[in-house]
């Protein structure tokens, strides 16, 4: 609850999907939303097997029919671009222990969505220093039909 409240002070427009340790069962397993020209999907990822497998995550992305899938669970930052879109894992903001990833560096991601372009800024805390990296993605004008 405290973390939830803290996050709300950062931004009142908060979207949450359930992680395996979350006791609050009201959080949904997946969520989709539209921001600008992009459809985004959210899923913690412990439900997608094998964990962290990009092809399986791409399947979920297709199922949710989203351009950008935001996922977690592995505590490892990844940004994976494929023809169908982008899969982003911001890693762990606290650097928490993970059975999947050794030496977790605390990290988080900010996405700047502007028209057909999204810029991903990843902030990582490595050996006491904050390092920032930036990745660009452009969405090609949509080829699939509207529903």
């Amino acid at each position: 609850m405290e973390v939830h409240d803290y996050l709300k002070t950062l931004c009142p427009d908060l979207h949450i999907t359930r992680g395996e340790y979350d006791e609050d069962t009201r959080y949904p397993e997946t969520k989709t939303l539209t921001i600008g020209q992009f459809k985004l999907g959210l899923c913690h990822g412990h439900q997608v097997i094998p964990w962290g497998d990009l092809d399986s995550l791409a399947m979920l992305q297709r199922q949710l029919d989203v351009d950008i899938l935001v996922t977690g669970h592995t505590h490892q930052f990844t940004a994976y671009k494929h023809e169908g879109g982008v899969v982003i894992n911001p890693g762990s903001a606290t650097g928490a222990y993970s059975s999947i990833t050794y030496d977790v560096n605390p990290s988080f991601v900010l996405m700047d969505i502007d028209g057909l372009r999204v810029v991903v800024y990843v902030y990582e805390l490595i050996d006491g220093e904050v390092k920032v990296d930036k990745i660009d993605f452009k969405k090609t004008a949509s080829t699939h039909t509207a529903h």
Binding site: E2, E20, Y21, Q47, G84, H147
Partner: protein
């Protein structure tokens, strides 16, 4: 001149007037009007006059104000500190206070504590490195409070909290405060709710300052201090405490546990054992909060030791991952019967994975056994079952340490659980997730194409059954979503090179889906249509890649449905 002539004469007048109001007012004037350096030099004289005043004069306020002024003076510049030492200010003040308190045996607790509080602040400012002075002050306070039982006056309570918070703020390090032997003794006099407030203040101080708590002795001392949070005090229950407040309290204890750390594995293990001992006393309401951080601390230690070579000359007493796993088993066991079976199951699986990384097959198997037992015996809520199945399958998929027999047993059970979930769609999804158990990258001997296909076919049968059920119950078949999901899994393994997944099988699955979608009796589902469209786009992308991949996908044909 002041010292030899003015002050003595003024004080003589003050004492002789024998009027309590005038005395109080005049003492106050003297203290406020004359500069602090003067006071320092005339402490003897000034303090000497105090016992001579009328007994009804509020001498404690006079003394407190004097000490406050001197504290500010000390804080104003480091250069004046030697003067304090030279005139032995601390000794004189502390004696004076002692005499005043003795002279007024009926002084209420509030008065006593206020005096000592001011003296402590003075001491902290003037003699920051003399922990013994600070301890003396606390000791004197304890002696005065003894025999009176717990403090009930709320103002006095506030003063005690101020008294105890002062060293925390000054030293910014709980460990220094803990060196004051009388500190915990003062704490004892507070009532139970206030002790808990103090405990939270202490934890916040630690978190704010990032204090490293690095030995089991320090942990022991700290837990003694905050024991109001760790367990129920004798006789009282927690019913009066608001549930949210209780959670916040326990969460701060959990965060505290994460702060205990020492590079040396032996010491770290001692710390873990000390924490375990204390949290056990917390009872079923607290363990779900305190056990997880302890488990993760232990797992971090295991990982640290993993990197190190097994020491062949090390004696049996040294810290090894195996030992820690034994401890972990005991720690997680304490959760049994609370009941929090999903939490325990998750923790067992975390340990299994860590054991896997340490190549300890029997240990990993034991953790899996515990997890499975919990699943079978205690997890009956459907939603919880689904989450737990995913965790079981996800963890098992990552295990490489198991021999064929053990792996088969665990896999067989996992697929069994999957097929027995309540709702057919959930069954279907769990079963096709199990297909990954038979196909592990990086381990050629764990790529069993046939069993993968068997799993997927089983999932298909369940999807079919789901359709028939929907037809029977509602008159129209349900969505084709499940079939499209399974199709995607076919494509996944096709991509990975499973020879059992043929183009023909993919093609016929596509046709089945198309037929179902065009059939009148099928409920239309835009989400399923979108999924199929994006799946076919994926196939198209693969074809366009050319080369070996393109060739592979080329034979797959798909005619989009005309709108």
């Amino acid at each position: 001149m002041y010292k030899d002539i003015v002050l003595p004469r003024v004080l003589e007048q003050v004492v002789n007037c024998k009027d309590e109001l005038a005395q109080f007012y005049l003492m106050d004037c003297i203290i406020q009007v004359f500069p602090d350096e003067y006071h320092l030099q005339t402490l003897d004289v000034l303090l000497g006059a105090c016992p001579q005043l009328q007994p009804s004069v509020d001498i404690k306020t006079v003394l407190s104000q004097l000490m406050e002024r001197l504290s500010h003076y000390a804080a104003s510049s480091a250069e004046v500190l030697p003067e304090f030492l030279q005139v032995e200010a601390f000794a004189k003040l502390s004696n004076a206070i002692g005499r005043v308190i003795e002279a007024q045996p009926d002084m209420p607790t509030l008065g006593v504590v206020t005096l000592y509080s001011s003296l402590l602040t003075f001491t902290l400012h003037v003699h920051p490195d003399r922990l013994d002075y600070a301890d003396q002050v606390l000791g004197a306070c304890v002696r005065k409070l003894s025999g009176k039982g717990k403090i009930e006056d709320s103002k006095a309570t506030k003063q005690v909290v101020a008294l105890l918070s002062a060293p925390l703020e000054k030293y910014n390090d709980i460990m220094t405060a803990l060196k004051l032997s009388n500190y915990p003794r003062v704490l004892e006099y507070l009532d139970v709710p206030t002790i808990r407030v103090m405990a939270t203040v202490i934890i916040q101080s630690i978190m704010k300052n990032g204090t490293r708590i690095s030995t089991s002795d320090k942990v022991e001392a700290l837990f003694e201090l905050i024991k109001g949070l760790i367990k129920d005090s004798d006789g009282t229950s927690n019913d009066k405490l608001d549930e949210d407040d209780f959670k916040e309290e326990q969460n701060s204890v959990a965060r505290l546990i994460q702060m205990f750390y020492n590079d040396d594995p032996e010491e770290m293990l001692k710390i873990i054992e000390t924490v375990r001992k204390h949290i056990l006393a917390g009872g079923p309401k607290r363990l779900p909060f305190t056990v997880p951080p302890l488990v993760f601390c232990s797992l971090k230690l295991v990982r640290q030791l993993q990197g190190q070579e097994e020491n062949p000359f090390g004696d049996d007493a040294s810290t090894t991952p195996k030992k820690i796993f034994q401890l972990l088993n005991q720690i997680i066991e304490t959760l049994s019967g609370i009941p929090v079976p999903e939490l325990a199951l998750q923790l067992y699986l975390q340990c299994a994975e860590a054991a896997n990384d340490c190549e300890l097959e029997p240990v990993a198997y034991e953790f899996f056994t515990q997890a499975y037992i919990l699943y079978e015996e205690e997890i009956s809520d459907s939603r919880a079952q689904i989450t737990c199945i995913h965790l079981i399958i996800g963890t098992l998929q990552r295990m490489h340490v198991f021999g064929v027999e053990n792996r088969d047993t665990l896999t067989h059970k996992a697929t069994g659980y999957s097929a027995k979930l309540l709702k057919k769609p959930d069954q279907c999804r769990a079963v096709y997730a199990c297909s990954h158990l038979f196909w592990v990258e990086d381990h050629d001997n764990m790529k069993d194409g046939e069993r993968v296909l068997l799993c997927l076919k089983r999932a298909l049968r369940i999807a079919n059954a789901a359709q028939q059920m929907a037809n029977a119950a509602r008159g129209s078949t349900g969505s084709v979503m499940l079939f499209i999901e399974i199709l995607n899994k076919y494509l996944y393994f096709f991509e990975k090179g499973n020879p059992q997944i043929t183009v023909a099988s993919i093609q016929s699955l596509i046709e089945l889906i198309m037929n179902e979608m065009q059939s009148d009796s099928t409920t239309s589902d835009p989400a399923a249509e979108a999924f199929l469209a994006s799946t076919m786009r994926y196939v198209q992308f693969q074809k366009q890649k050319g080369g070996a991949v393109g060739e592979k996908y080329e034979p797959i044909k798909y005619e989009p449905i005309k709108a």
